[in-house]
Symmetry: C2
Subunit: 337 residues, 2 copies
Amino acid sequence: MKKRSSNKWFQPLPSSRRGLNDSFGVSLIKRVTCLAGGVGAARFLQGLIKVIPQEKITVVVNTGDDINLYGLHVSPDPDIIMYTLTEIVDEEKGWGIRNDTFHALEMLKKLGLETWFKLGDKDFATHIHRTHLLKEGYPLHKVTDIICRASGLRTKIIPMTNDKVTPKIGTDVGEMHFEEYLVKRGARDKVLNVTFEGAESADPAPGVTESIREADGVIVCPSNPIVSIGPILAVSRIREALRETKAKIIAISPIVGGATIKGPADKLMRGLGLEVSAYSVAFLYRDFLDVFIMDDVDKDDKERVERLNIKAIVTNTIMRSLQDKVRLARLALSSIE
Amino acid sequence: MKKRSSNKWFQPLPSSRRGLNDSFGVSLIKRVTCLAGGVGAARFLQGLIKVIPQEKITVVVNTGDDINLYGLHVSPDPDIIMYTLTEIVDEEKGWGIRNDTFHALEMLKKLGLETWFKLGDKDFATHIHRTHLLKEGYPLHKVTDIICRASGLRTKIIPMTNDKVTPKIGTDVGEMHFEEYLVKRGARDKVLNVTFEGAESADPAPGVTESIREADGVIVCPSNPIVSIGPILAVSRIREALRETKAKIIAISPIVGGATIKGPADKLMRGLGLEVSAYSVAFLYRDFLDVFIMDDVDKDDKERVERLNIKAIVTNTIMRSLQDKVRLARLALSSIE
C-alpha cells in the first residue's frame, strides 16, 4: 500500500464535463499493472484505456491456456486482450477476429485433423508469426511484445511466464487441458481438482514482478480466479511480488450473484469445494488484496469480505456498454488512492 | 529400354468407342513414373490419370522450389500436382486452391511481414500440417504421402529428395532463390548462371530410384528443364537410375516455337548460353532419353534431335482442353512400347 501526500489526485469531474476519453485526474498515475485472463479482463481493459493512456498500463496475462495446435503456439488470453484493445475482436463471439473466415481450419479438417478449437484465418496469422519468432529463438515475452507493437497496441502485454504452466483439470473422466475441458468437451465433466503443471519451477517473465512492484496500483481483472488468475498466482515469485508491493491492489469480482458472467468459473469453484460467491474470490486473494469491487447483488457478502481485512466496494459491475466499462475503470482507479 | 513380347498391349480403339475415362490397352502397363515440376506437369498428369489408373502412376516431384515462409515448409510443385489431381486447383491462376481467400496473408502483412509469395488460407493449412509432421520427425516423403492420401489422391507423389536442394539463380543483381527470382522480382533480372545448392550430397527420397528402375516407362513431363527437372537430375543417383533403367524414357518438350508456354525457362536457358529450342531440351536429356515428343511448330528440329539417337515424335503438344491432355498422355504411353 503506497501512501500518497495528497488524496486529491483523482477527482471525478462534474458529469456534464466528463467524456469517454477524458483522463482528468488520472494524469498523476504513472503506472497501473493489471492481471488478466481473457474475455472478462479484455472488456474491463476496454474501459481502462479510455480513462488512462495505454502507455501507462501493463497487462500481465495468463498463459495457462496456451496450447499447441498443429505445431502452432496458440495464446488465447494474450490474443483476446490484444484483439480487443486494437478493436479487431469479434465482440459477438467474444474471441477471434471480426469478419474472419475459417478456410484453413476447413482444409485441416479435410486432411483428417481434429478442429474443435476454432481458429480463424486471420487468427492463424498471429499463431504462425508467434511460432516462427519462438523458433527463431525469441522468448515468449519478446514475441508477444513484437506482435503487440506491430498490431499498433501501446499497452504493454506481458505473458505471466516464458515457461510452461498448464492448468490440468482433474475430472471424473480423467485429467485434461483446460481448453479441452472447456471447448472440446463443453465443460460437461465433473471437476474434481485443478493443478498447475510446471508452476513450481516457472519464473515470471522479465518485467512481470517489476511491473507489480513499481506500479501505483495493481488491478486484478474480473477473470476466472481458478484457471485465469490462478495460473498467474501459481508462479510463486508473482504472488510474492503481490504480497510485497507497496501498490494498492484492487480486484473486481467475476462472480455475480453466485454465478459467472461467462465461462466455467462456477463449475470449477464448486469442484474445488469452494462456495461459488464473490466472497470466495476475495478469500482466494486475501493474502495480497486491498480493495474488492463486488456487485450490488452481492452486497450481503460485504461484511464477510471486510472481515478478511479487505475494503469492499459494492457497485454495478456488469459491463454492457462502453460507459459501464469506463465507470468501472474509473472506480478501480479511484480505489488505488 | 524394356523389350516386350507383344507390341499389341496398347492399341487405340476406333475413335467412336474412345471415351475420356477409357483405359483400354493400357491395362498391361503396371507402373509409370513421371518426373514433374509444377503447372505444366500437372496439366499433363490431368490427362494421364484419365487414361491409366492413378494407382499405377508414381510422380517424382521437384522440391527445388521448396521455401521456408513464416517458419512453414512450402512445397510449391508437389502442392500444384496434388491440388490439380484432386481437382481443387485454381486453374485460372495456375496455383493455389479454387475460391481460396487470403485473410491470413493480409494479417501477416498488417503485422509487418513481407507477403510477396501468395499463400491462400486453405493452402496455409497444407503448409501448417506439413511443417507440423516434419517437426514431429516424419521425413518429407512420408509427410507428402500422408497429406496426399488424406487428400484422397491415389497417385503416389514422392519428393525427389528429403534433403535440401536449392536452385540458386545467379543474376546481374546477385544470387537468389528461384521463387525470389520468379515471384518476388518477376523474372526481370539477367540470368548469369544456375547452381543447385546441396545437390552433391543429396540422396533420392526412398522410392524414387526404385520407381524409375521398376517402371515400364518413365515420362519427363513438360516442365522447366532448368529449375524443375534440373534439380531432380542434379541428384546424381536419380540421373544414374535414369541412365540405367530398362524402362523406356519419354520426354515432352516444354519449349514450343522457341518459347515457353508458362514460366521463365526461356530466360533461364538463354542466361545459361543455351539455344531456346525444343532441341536444347532433348540435348539436356540426351544421356537417358529414348523418345522426345515435340510440337508441330518445331518439326524442323526433328532431324537434329534424332541425331542425338533419340526418337522424335512431332505432334500438337498444346494442352488447352482435357481432350488435348488425354491425347498427349495416350501418345506418351504408346511411346513406352
